[in-house]
């Protein structure tokens, strides 16, 4: 299957149109905070000892992801001011590219003698993000200045790493360059870049390379050659950027061993190491995958970037194998862990997205400086390591790229997001009430007879499909329902979206005796602020009662669940608890922490 370029998809209304409007606020706010913290200033390479905002090895990647985000916005709508701003940064980048093609604001300026010497210091990672930005900006504007700068940079990298082998290391401590070089190859058609991407993938884990002192080579997936890796290990963002690159190269070169490793890793993640929110990387230490079924809620690391990277990986896997499960996982991560990463006003961000918040414990630990990591419970506008905010802005701005895939005359509809698309001359107009209601209206105007493949989501129970007002009963294969369309047609899908209770595998210790409340792709959470008189942790879902869905202006579609609670006076009692009936108010998980600070919980006793 192939991707549909963002240039050919337009989000024109509905949930994600609103999100993209808010994303413009995010883009501005991230820009402001990055200005304040010297991230753009660093491009000028004028910082000197004693100045504030010392450039950091990550800064180029922050700038790059911001420009990439801006590029996707520019694809959607002309904006002279934004484009000029991008051009000015691109001019700085060009002006400071070294003669041999080297570009890195930090190393050129602060540590020129350390160039290509420090494996863990993100040089190739920054280069990768700049390449992604250059490709996006070229696609958005047609301007090739940035693209040419990054081609020259990639040529330099090829010379140093692959031809002359002058670098002090072979593979980067933080993967990203691999998938970026693949993107550069796709837009330039230069096989050298594909080959360089494959080189970095092939070389990983072939030898012992420097990791942080005392950090295990699992950390950056260099513990084994990648084709022998069958479980998701180590730093979750590093891992999923690598797996994305592996999928790219696997698909392009039809490398069965590589594809097989990707499939096994995907299965390991989604059947054993993923939160119900699509979050991955359960441990703060190493920001890492840990072991099967280890999914603690309160300390869940579940970095926003990791869920975004999971989406990137799944999107590529979906191109390899037309199976709706990959789009299911994208939907899960998108509507829960990813959207949780940004506040409803677009201004502030979560790095970690835990599935439980305990204000009393958090405050105690803060007050007494307890040396135990706990995720923050309020979003922040910027972080020292501020990778997540611009990763979010680029993801929301490019959400259109996740909706469709095609393979000759087969068109796959993966995400039910209101949009219009031109896929090789076949026009699609989709209106969707997702994620709040299951009604989707798709107008298809084919240029030639085509087949539409509708994803039937994992959460769907009852649904009705009509084609030109006639009910359509199609077989479902690999999660898709196939509909042949040879003339302008209206396809309407109406998914029933009842409240559904989810149970976790018996080995997930954190969720023993607990269940989560969902509706469609949305995972629900309860916040203390809505439930002041009950202990979230102790309350029991009462399946015998009737739940209700109600609209609320701020938190949209909420749920009221019947629950049982108890009170006990003694610390320890022989008295069997007597439960009282009451109700629990839940809001979509991704909307948590947008009001006053309070406890939050996803998994409830039943």
């Amino acid at each position: 299957m192939q991707e549909v370029l963002l240039n050919n998809v337009k989000i024109n209304q509905g949930f994600f149109k609103d999100r993209q409007k808010t994303n413009l606020v995010s883009l501005k706010n991230v820009h402001k905070r990055f200005l304040e913290t010297g991230r753009f200033e660093a491009l000028k390479q004028t910082w000197k000892q004693g100045d504030k905002n010392k450039p950091h090895i990550f800064f180029d990647s922050d700038v790059a992801k911001w420009i990439e985000s801006a590029a996707y916005v520019l694809i959607d709508q002309k904006d002279e001011e934004l484009e000029q701003l991008c051009d000015s940064y691109i001019d700085e980048i060009q002006a400071h590219q070294e003669k041999d093609g080297y570009f890195n604001s930090y190393f050129s300026h602060i540590a020129p003698d350390k160039k290509w010497k420090l494996r863990m210091e993100h040089e190739l990672y920054c280069a990768g993000h700049l390449i992604e930005a250059a490709v996006a900006y070229y696609q958005a504007t047609g301007k090739d200045k940035f693209l040419n700068v990054m081609k020259k940079n990639a040529d330099h990298i090829e010379k140093v790493f692959k031809i002359e082998k002058n670098a002090a290391f072979v593979t980067c401590g933080h993967e990203e360059i691999e998938l970026a070089l693949y993107k550069l190859y796709k837009v330039t058609k230069e096989l050298r870049y594909l080959s360089l991407a494959k080189f970095f993938i092939d070389e990983r884990g072939q030898r012992q390379e420097e990791v942080y002192p005392s950090v295990d080579p699992h950390y950056d997936q260099s513990f084994l050659p990648v084709r022998k890796q069958h479980t998701a290990e180590g730093h979750s963002v590093r891992a999923l950027y690598l797996y994305s690159g592996m999928a790219d190269i696997g698909k392009e070169t039809n490398d069965k061993e590589l594809i097989d490793a990707c499939k096994k890793i995907y299965e390991n993640i989604t059947t054993k190491r993923m939160y119900i929110t699509g979050g991955v990387g359960s441990s703060h230490y190493g920001e890492a995958f840990t072991y099967d079924y280890d999914l603690p809620n309160l300390s869940a690391y579940t970095e926003t970037c990791a869920a975004i990277a999971l989406i990137m990986f799944c999107d590529r896997m979906n191109e390899i194998e037309a199976n709706a499960k990959y789009a299911d996982t994208i939907e899960r991560a998108l509507y829960n862990n990813v959207l949780s990463g940004v506040s409803l006003d677009g201004k502030s961000f979560f790095y970690e997205n835990p599935l439980e918040a305990d204000v009393e414990k958090y405050d105690f630990n803060q007050t007494y400086k307890v040396k135990q990591h706990m995720p923050i419970i309020r979003r922040q506008e910027v972080f020292d390591c501020s990778c997540c905010p611009p990763n979010l802005t680029r993801t929301i701005a490019s959400i259109g790229s996740l909706i469709y895939k095609y393979d000759k005359q087969d068109i796959f509809i993966n995400q039910y997001i209101s949009s219009s698309a031109d896929i090789e001359g076949n026009l699609i107009e989709m209106k969707s009430d997702m994620p709040w209601k299951g009604k989707i209206n798709i107008k298809v105007s084919p240029k030639i007879p085509i087949k539409i493949f509708l994803r039937i989501p994992y959460w769907a129970t009852e649904y009705i499909v009509t084609v030109n007002q006639k009910e359509f009963k199609g077989n479902i294969q690999n999660g898709y329902m196939k509909i042949s369309v040879s003339e302008e047609s209206i396809i309407i899908i109406d998914f029933d979206m009842p409240i559904r209770i989810v149970f976790a595998h018996n080995k997930v210790k954190a969720n023993s005796g607990r269940a989560a409340v969902t509706r469609g792709p949305i995972v629900y959470a309860a916040e203390g602020i809505d439930n002041p008189n009950i202990d979230l942790k102790d309350v029991k879902l009462d399946f015998s009662g009737k739940s209700e869905i109600f609209e609320n202006q701020f938190t949209k579609y909420n749920i009221i669940m019947p629950v049982l609670y108890r009170e006990q006076i003694e610390l320890y009692s022989y008295q069997v608890p007597e439960y009282q009936k009451t109700s629990l108010k839940l809001i979509p998980y991704f909307m948590w922490a947008n009001r006053e600070r309070s406890d939050m919980q996803v998994w409830f006793l039943y």
Copy 2:
């Protein structure tokens, strides 16, 4: 109420006689490990740079607790060899006491310029333990050499701290001196020592004093004057040694404000901050009390020394107020957290006594050097900071002191431990099957008409009391049943000891939806080794089924509980779990970790 001196109580059979036999193994083994690690050698003050086993600021306290343990053993039975060994160490102590009375092996030898300058470095703490040892050794042997050394030392302390105020601090960073000076006062009748103990108690929290950098003054209970402290705060062993001293001084000086603070702290601990095992101090960080109802199981710190200190505090409170609740708490801590601190063979020890063990997580964290503290899951023979082993040996060796209290002609029986006692000429002979069976036979031979107060434990349901074979129905006041005895009588109590399920307060998040299995004072635990095919964390107690008690040679009285378990294939499923019936084998909590490593759990879903 008054204590009954250990010299007047003899443990002659039953559960604790066996424990005291094992305790002789412990005493020998601790001695061996302390020899190997230079703890006794340090007394000679011959260590020099380059030698192994550099003396440590704690070493004197380790030696002191070992001698104190030996003293209690010597009270029980003559042992020439052991007494000579003690004498030799006492000679070393005397030989190295400085002219002015100062004694501390570490400071005299390693850092003489730092004497009385470093508040957090345990000088007064070590002095306190040496005083306790000297008092015990005097009571055991009648020899006063050690006692005189420590009196001279106490005189020196009085001069430096109270009279001349030359020290760089006022109160010690680790309490212990207070209760020790009270013991010294009790044996010498010198009011100066009582007054000095009171001085240290009165001065605590009156000013800001040095704590470890960045450690809050809650850490060593110096955040407020002690009479204003109404909750248990900070380092749990420090706290309970202080509260013990407060209770001593409160009782002796009839200081109502001090007694009131002690009562409030006792209530705070036992109604909000104590594990079902009698463990206290839930946090590794600061080895501390945290906040109400914060009682996590897997990371429970619950230091052996803290449970011992809780017993010390309760024993003193019981003398202030003849209420059986204090003895209940002693029994809870003793049969669970304290006994868990030593292996069944007596050779190895736990510092922490968690209520859950997760081998997979423990091994993962060890393998990948995850920087997250987890209690060890196998006992060790010695620790760098090896306070717990000799604290255990002195507690088991002096267990007789916890059984009886008296107040004129009232004799209180607090612990049903087989023993014979001479209480002011009134003889008691008690045979008890506790903790395995509830049958207790007490022969009382009074010198004058007396009243016997039998503790009716919190766990007692049905029971029958007979006096000289006639059923006796007495009122229960403050947890005690009063029986008047004017001639030789046989009192028999037969407590029914059914399996009883315990529920925790709704605010104890760790135990939400969970219950613990108990029988009499014994808390039960399940180990993976006995339950290989079920997930301990996910299993549900089935109250509708029938439990069984069975004897096992190694782990004694075990329990088989009917439980429900489930299996699920998917990580997340909409299918309501179907539970299967099976059974769970439980052993007494204190016997855990005596076989192969496996998971352990106390609180089960129900």
